[in-house]
């Protein structure tokens, strides 16, 4: 009996290794960050860091869902931009109007994700090309909505969601937690979530076992759109405006992939969790901001982030040392 428990514990550890590693990196980086920050470990510093980190965390969660199915979504950054632009039009006015606006924005995100899913799964196109193309469409629509930066948002709601709960806990972290509990946990435990994992791990085997892989993958793409939309909504709450900046959308897509890799999600599919990706996102943001507390020229930030990304993706290469048969190099 006791033996069983030890084994269970070991399995759990092996399964969560990536997530725990990301958590570890994040904690170490955050300690370095706050201990060198001129203001130190105060509620204000944590709140700002949380607000910035949560934006990327939502996009990284979206990316995770798709990556688990062994696909990739290069349009997440553009869905994020599009919903930001839309929210700067709709999420205004009375509480009722605001609520309807939020629902509309989330619905658009769902729709974008569903379009990606339909094209990739039922249209049988490669995810890379399909999502680059749909990303161009989403960016174009965002640009139509906001040719110039502007718009507004219901500031009461925005301040409530980017402020602090009880004066201590950043509200954005609470929202992130709620989203994890409402979307990720049920999805990963449902049949569809299992199907998404199975499809990423071995599509043929999953198909032969009668797993509903198509529905699972479709659900993953659709929910990815929803999560990217939540991120876009938060960006609006954070900046009070909508802006269709091509470079910003591209960098969110790029950073989401970096966060996913840091968070221990396998890019070959079937392995990892959105929780890991969240810690990966928070860690990535903290590392990027380290430059500021050490008083470097902000010009170095893109290079610094690029190098981190390069190192992070190269770390995966260590798995090569465990390969005994050279043929396993070639997937």
């Amino acid at each position: 009996m006791k033996d069983w428990r030890v084994k269970d514990w070991r399995y759990w550890l092996a399964e969560q290794r990536g997530t725990l590693l990301a958590l570890g990196i994040f904690i170490v980086m955050f300690v370095i960050y706050t201990s060198n920050h001129p203001a130190g470990f105060t509620a204000n510093v944590v709140q700002t860091a949380a607000n910035k980190g949560v934006l990327l965390a939502f996009v990284a969660m979206a990316q995770t869902l798709v990556v688990i199915t062994a696909g990739i979504d290069l349009s997440v950054g553009m869905i994020f931009l599009l919903t930001n632009c839309l929210a700067s039009w709709l999420v205004v006015g009375t509480p009722m109007q605001t609520a309807l606006g939020v629902i509309a924005v989330l619905a658009v995100g769902l729709l974008c994700g569903a379009i990606n899913g339909a094209i990739v799964i039922y249209g049988r196109l490669q995810p890379i090309v399909a999502t680059i193309a749909t990303g161009a469409v989403y960016y174009g629509i965002g640009l139509l909505l906001r040719p110039f930066p502007g718009g507004s948002v219901n500031e009461d709601l925005a301040d409530a969601l980017t402020g602090r709960v009880f004066g201590v806990v950043p509200a954005s972290i609470v929202v992130l937690l709620v989203i994890v509990l409402v979307i990720w946990v049920p999805f990963s435990r449902s049949v569809l979530g299992r199907a998404a994992y199975a499809a990423g791990s071995s599509e043929t085997a999953a198909y032969m076992s009668g797993v509903p892989i198509r529905r699972g993958k479709f659900a993953a793409y659709t929910l990815a759109g929803l999560l990217a939309a939540i991120g876009g909504l938060f960006l609006t709450f954070f900046t009070y405006t909508g802006e269709a900046a091509y470079a910003s959308g591209n960098s969110y897509t790029l950073f989401s992939i970096a966060a996913v890799v840091l968070g221990g999600v396998s890019l070959f599919g079937g392995k990892g969790s959105a929780i890991g990706a969240i810690f990966g996102a928070l860690a990535f943001r903290t590392i990027g901001d380290l430059l500021f507390v050490f008083d470097f020229d902000p010009l170095w930030q893109p290079l610094f982030q690029g190098v981190i990304l390069l190192v992070a993706v190269s770390l995966g290469a260590f798995a090569l040392f465990r390969v005994r048969n050279r043929l396993e190099w070639f997937l």
Partner: protein, 328 residues
């Protein structure tokens, strides 16, 4: 069943049509359709000057797409194109600031920088076995970071050398822009390499099944690495030409070439999974994309509309003939 009827119809057609890839034919048909639609809008669409001008604009994309095609044939992808283009342009212009030697070496230096980016990609993909999509995104970010640090975040002040301008805008043969000649030369070299050398056949082999290529005694990792280096070099050369065309380099000059170069290759019938495709298709894809862009800009379509139409057209055409097989 449909295959037999198709074969029956095709059997009565001339040999060159029978042998041609349906995707390439579709792409060329779309070019004709676009020209027809354009000529309805404005008569000057069919004038030789306009067509030659389009060919010149297409040649920049053509050079970049040539490298992209080589990588896609391997079943990989190169997403470092934007900053390989910009790095090539900026470094060539930067070299020009260092006296006559710098001016003379500007073009090779720019290409060398692009090849360096490509080599990093190649090492990552071939030896470290990192998915190409990821490592090329990362090197793109690093190249961007380096260029931002180098230029201080602004467009560099150095301007293109006379040689770069001559290559991009001059005329060696009257009536034919140099850029078109360069594309033709690079294209001819590519066709030769792909169809007449063992390197080219290996590229197709790796794209079909790397394991099988490896087992038949080919050093597949070296081939993959060379292909990425060539792709980086060609992207940078495209950047050098663009800098010559605009007579200076700019921060985000490469952004507009990533999607078009992938789209041109894929629309030309090259399988994104690798191992299948012809250079003729890529030529068709490049011309198709350039004409589409040109028509949209002649119609004074705003940037937003252009992006939307662009994405929709690519998805629609891929749905027509770029789908993966249904059977598992």
């Amino acid at each position: 069943m449909s295959e037999t009827t198709l074969g029956g119809i095709a059997g009565r057609m001339p040999r060159f049509i029978r042998r041609a890839d349906p995707a390439v034919l579709t792409a060329f048909a779309c070019i004709v359709l676009l020209l027809f639609l354009g000529s309805l809008y404005s008569r000057s669409f069919l004038s030789p000057e306009y067509l030659l001008q389009q060919l010149k604009v297409a040649s920049f994309l053509g050079v970049i797409a040539t490298g992209m095609m080589l990588v896609i044939l391997l079943g990989q992808i190169d997403l470092s194109v934007p900053w390989a283009v910009a790095a090539g342009a900026m470094m060539a212009c930067a070299a020009a600031a260092y006296g006559p030697v710098g001016v003379a070496l500007a073009i090779p230096f720019g290409i060398l920088c692009g090849m360096l980016i490509g080599v990093v990609n190649g090492i990552g993909v071939a030896y470290l076995r990192i998915p190409s999509m990821i490592i090329t995104l990362a090197t793109n970010a690093v190249a961007q970071g380096l260029m931002v640090v180098y230029t201080g975040g602004f467009s560099p002040q150095d301007s293109a050398t006379g040689a770069m301008r001559y290559l991009a805008t001059g005329f060696t043969i009257p009536g034919v822009p140099n850029a078109v000649i360069i594309w033709a030369l690079i294209g001819a070299a590519m066709v030769f390499v792909l169809t007449r050398t063992s390197f080219g056949r290996t590229v197709y082999g790796i794209g079909n099944r790397e394991r099988a290529a490896y087992l038949s005694g080919i050093d597949t990792r070296r081939v993959v690495m060379i292909a990425f280096a060539v792709s980086g070099g060609l992207s940078a050369f495209g950047g050098v030409l663009l800098a010559g065309y605009a007579s200076k380099a700019a921060q985000s000059m490469g952004d507009a070439y990533l999607l078009p170069s992938i789209a041109a290759v894929v629309l030309g019938g090259t399988s994104i999974l690798g191992g299948r495709g012809s250079y003729l298709g890529t030529v068709a894809g490049v011309i198709l994309i350039t004409l589409l862009q040109s028509i949209l800009s002649v119609m004074q379509m705003p940037e937003a509309g252009r992006q939307i139409i662009y994405g929709v057209v690519i998805v629609a055409m891929l749905l027509l003939y770029g789908r993966a097989p249904a059977s598992r």
